[in-house]
Structure formats: C-alpha cells, structure tokens
Symmetry: C2
Amino acid sequence: MAPDSPAEESPSRGKRADAQRNRQTVLTAAAEVFVTSGVDAPIRRIAAQAGVGMATIYRHFPTRADLVTAVYRHQIEACAEAGPDLLARAESPLDALRRWIDLFVDFLVTKHGLADALQSDDDRFATLHAYFLDRLLPVCAQLLDAAVESGEIRPGTQPYELMRGIGNLCIGRDDDPRYDPRRLIALLLQGLQGHQRPQAS
Amino acid sequence: MAPDSPAEESPSRGKRADAQRNRQTVLTAAAEVFVTSGVDAPIRRIAAQAGVGMATIYRHFPTRADLVTAVYRHQIEACAEAGPDLLARAESPLDALRRWIDLFVDFLVTKHGLADALQSDDDRFATLHAYFLDRLLPVCAQLLDAAVESGEIRPGTQPYELMRGIGNLCIGRDDDPRYDPRRLIALLLQGLQGHQRPQAS
DNA sequence: ATATTAAAGGGAGCGATGCTCCGTTTCAGG
DNA sequence: CCTGAAACGGAGCATCGCTCCCTTTAATAT
C-alpha cells in the first residue's frame, strides 16, 4: 500500500511545517480535553490547552465533527477493520456479531458524550453521524447478513436501525451502576434470535 | 378525593390573581414553543411568545425541568395511571406491559427532544429525570413483576434499566423512516421472553 | 375611595460559548 | 535577505442562561 492515501488520510500533507505541527498539537490537546470534559468541550478550552488561537482550530477542523472524527479516526478504523476479522475467526457469525458489538460499545462508553453527540440533532454533529455510518454500517451489515444467513438470527432487521439502537442505548451518564447498556444490548440480541432453535441448515 | 391535592398539584393556589393568570399564559406558550422548537427552546422565546419577561418564567418555574414537567404533567400522570388499568384489562401481564410501553413511547416520540433531555447529563434536566422516575418507575416495576410472575418473561431485568433503555431508544430525530424505536423495543421485549415459546395457552 | 405594602413583573446586564473577520506573524522559495 | 502567501491569534459579534433591581400592580387596611 502506498504511504499516501488518496482521500483524507492526512489533510496536512504538503502544507506548511508549522501548520502540520499545530494540527498535531490541536489533535492531542483535543484528545486530552475530550477525556475530561467530553466531546462538547468549549473550543476555547481546547485552544487554550493547545496554546493556539481558536481560528487555528477552526481552520484545521471547520466543524466540531471534523475534530472529533480526527481524534478518534484510528479507533473507528480499527473497529471497522475488526469486523471481517471477527467473522473469519469467531465460532459463528452470531458470535462475531456479538464480539463486534462489544467492541463498538466499549469504544462508545469510554468517550464521554460521544454516543450522545452521535444521535444529537445538533447540526454541528451531522457529519460525525455520517462518518460513523459510512465507515461502520457496511461492517455491521456484513455481520448481520452473515448471522441471518447462518440461521442464527431472524431476518428483517436493518443494519442502520440496529446500529443506531445500540448507539442510543449507550447514551447518558456512564457512572450509574443501575444502568449497563450491555445488558440491554444482550437482550436485544436475544430478541434477534427470536424463537428459532439451532436449526440444521 | 378532595379537589386540592396536598403537594404540588397547583403551586399557584392562594397566589395573586395576575400570578395565576401569568402562570397559565406561560404554560400554554411553552407548550406551543415546545412543539415547534423542542424542549430546549430558549427561555427568551417562550417569554416572548407569552408576552412576559424572562424573570416571570423563572419565578414560576425555577428550572427548565420544572417548566417541562408542568407542561406535560397531565400526560405523565395519565401514563402512570394507565399502568394498573392495563394490568386489569389486558389479556396478560405481558400484554399489559407491551401496551403500557406503547403509551410511553407514543408520549416520548411526539415531544421533540424530550427523550433527549431525559437522559441528558445537563444538570438543568436532572429533576426532570427524577420526576419521570418517581412517577413511572413504580408503574413499570409493577407491570414487569406481574409479567415475570406469570412466567411470560424472564426475571432479572431491573425496571430502571428497562425504562431508561426504552427512553434511550426514543432519542434522536423522529423524521428518519429508517429508524423506528418501536421495532427495537419489540425486539427487546422479545429478548425478555427469553427462549420461552410464544404462547401455548 | 384612597393609601399602603408586599408580591409580581419586566428587562437590562453579566458571563459563557460558537463562530468570524482582519491585522499581524511566520514560513518557504527565489 | 526579501517577499508573498499561508497561517496565526484574538478581538468582536451574536445567542443564550440566569440574576438583579427598579417599576407596576393587586390585595388589604383605613
């Protein structure tokens, strides 16, 4: 694979040196602030943390979604790539789907407010929603189809609906011991299995 | 039952006439604005719509949650009271639970951003969350227990977790034909039934 | 009816935040 | 070293939440 991806792998390619440096600085600063204050943190704070002006951030990342996307790009990518991997290695397609959802949920719940932002009707997050969908929906669809094909779950569930449902279930304060999204997601998967028994194909 | 409830049925009892009038004015104005702009609508806008100053709203409803609660009080109450009713009239406890959840979901999805606000980590909505829980959690628990008791669903699911899950699934834009929270909730209920067969009676 | 007074009202004002505009600084190539 | 363009920084404007304080008004006493 060539080192220079075609699309938007590294938008700082060919730019001035200080621009590239600042881009990185902002990215790490944002990552730090996101951990403590969530992805809703004021741009001012991130700018201060990075020691740059606000305009610099807006220049590199026109919308908040762009910044969030850039910060978590690697993890999202990893999640996307894990799909086919799991499908190949897991005991069954349903098992693969389960594991993949686990990965996805782990990713979401460890980022304060990320799940909230994903389903927010705030226009600033529209492209974030779109990016997640573009990248992860095909993976989910593949796993879902495989599990349907193997007869482990009932057909008829749309990947978009499943993903958004999972995302929605991860919304909210994560410090409440009374609520664990994983339990409900397990219930959802149980429901997906319907009343089918281990049918011989 | 006496017409004057003890607690907070009508906080304007005994107040000055103009105060009671304004309270009503604000309430209807808020209801209108909520429909068009969601429960996150700027207080300024509601004040303008009502033709009063902002302080008037804040005096009657110290927090946003108080205003939202007051606007939807009747409907929440109706939902709460429908629980025992359904349990008495439905074919089975599970059927009652299903119908009650339908009511709850109908209520949530028709109020723009209400579900969002309920699970928001915004402090302004903390008491809203609390109010819903106080009023509806016991009802949900009763229905859930009855359905467990009748053997229609598996035990072990906590009412809080179920209610919050349902609320979460109702979050987000409601104009997307690809996403219908009801389908996922049906799946969730299917999962609650575990591996028991549909109904042999 | 008028005066009194406490409750209620109204909106300017403060702080926070999103986002932009424009003068200034800095890099990179000649 | 010089110069132009790219990048930078923060002041500035708009919006919103919430409060403070002065004005208005309703209920009551005289």
